[in-house]
Assembly symmetry: C2
Homo-oligomer: 112 residues x 2
C-alpha cells in the first residue's frame, strides 16, 4: 500500500506559536553553540530569521527560555534556561509518541 501518515505538532500560548519543529531545532543549536549567531550559521539560516524566531519564542513563553547577553569580550551570547531545556525535552518526547501513535493508526487506512 505504502501510504504514510505524517504530522506536525506545535505548542501555542494565547494564539501565538511557542514551539514547533524549527524553533526546537534552533534552541538545540543555541544550546550546543552558546550563541544565536553561531546557531543561525549552523542551521544555515539568516541571523535575522533566527533572532525573529527566538524573540517570538521568548515573547510567547510564560518564563524565559533563553538568557541573551550583549557585549563583553566575546560579544555576549545566548544560553538556554532550565525551563527552556525542559521544554524541548518534553516537545521531543511528545512528538516521538505522536509518530508512534500515528503509525499504529495507519492500519485503518490499509484495511480499505
Amino acid at each position: 500500500m505504502s501510504y504514510k501518515i505524517k504530522s506536525r505538532i506545535w505548542i501555542e500560548s494565547d494564539k501565538h506559536v511557542l514551539l514547533g519543529e524549527g524553533r526546537v531545532q534552533l534552541l538545540k543549536a543555541i544550546d550546543k553553540t552558546g550563541s544565536l549567531s553561531k546557531a543561525a550559521k549552523a542551521l544555515n539560516i539568516s541571523y535575522k530569521k533566527a533572532w525573529n524566531l527566538l524573540d517570538s519564542v521568548n515573547k510567547s513563553a510564560k518564563k524565559p527560555v533563553t538568557i541573551n547577553s550583549i557585549g563583553g569580550k566575546g560579544g555576549g551570547g545566548a544560553e538556554l534556561t532550565d525551563y527552556g531545556k525542559s521544554l524541548i525535552l518534553a516537545f521531543d518526547e511528545i512528538n516521538k509518541n505522536c509518530w508512534e501513535f500515528l503509525d499504529k493508526q495507519l492500519e485503518k487506512i490499509e484495511r480499505i
Copy 2:
C-alpha cells in the same frame, strides 16, 4: 498555564500528499453538492484551486477517489467513489484520535 498542543496530519503516497485537512474538506463539499465547481463556491475558494487539489488527490491515490464527468445537460459533475468516502471517514477518525492523544500529552508540559 494555557499552553495548547496543535497538530496537522496528512497522508502521503510516494512523497506526494494524498489527503490533508483542506483536501478532506473539499471532498466532503463535493459529496454534498455533487460538483467540483459548487464545492469550490461553498468553500469560497477558486475553481482552479479546487481543481488542482482534486487532481492532486486523484493522482496520488491508488484507486480513484472521485468520478468526474464533463458535459451533458447539467454540465456534468463529480462524485465520491466508495473508496473516497472510506478514506475521508478514516482520516477524520485518525485526526480525532490524534487530538485526544495530544490532549493527554499536554500534562507533560504543564508539569514543567
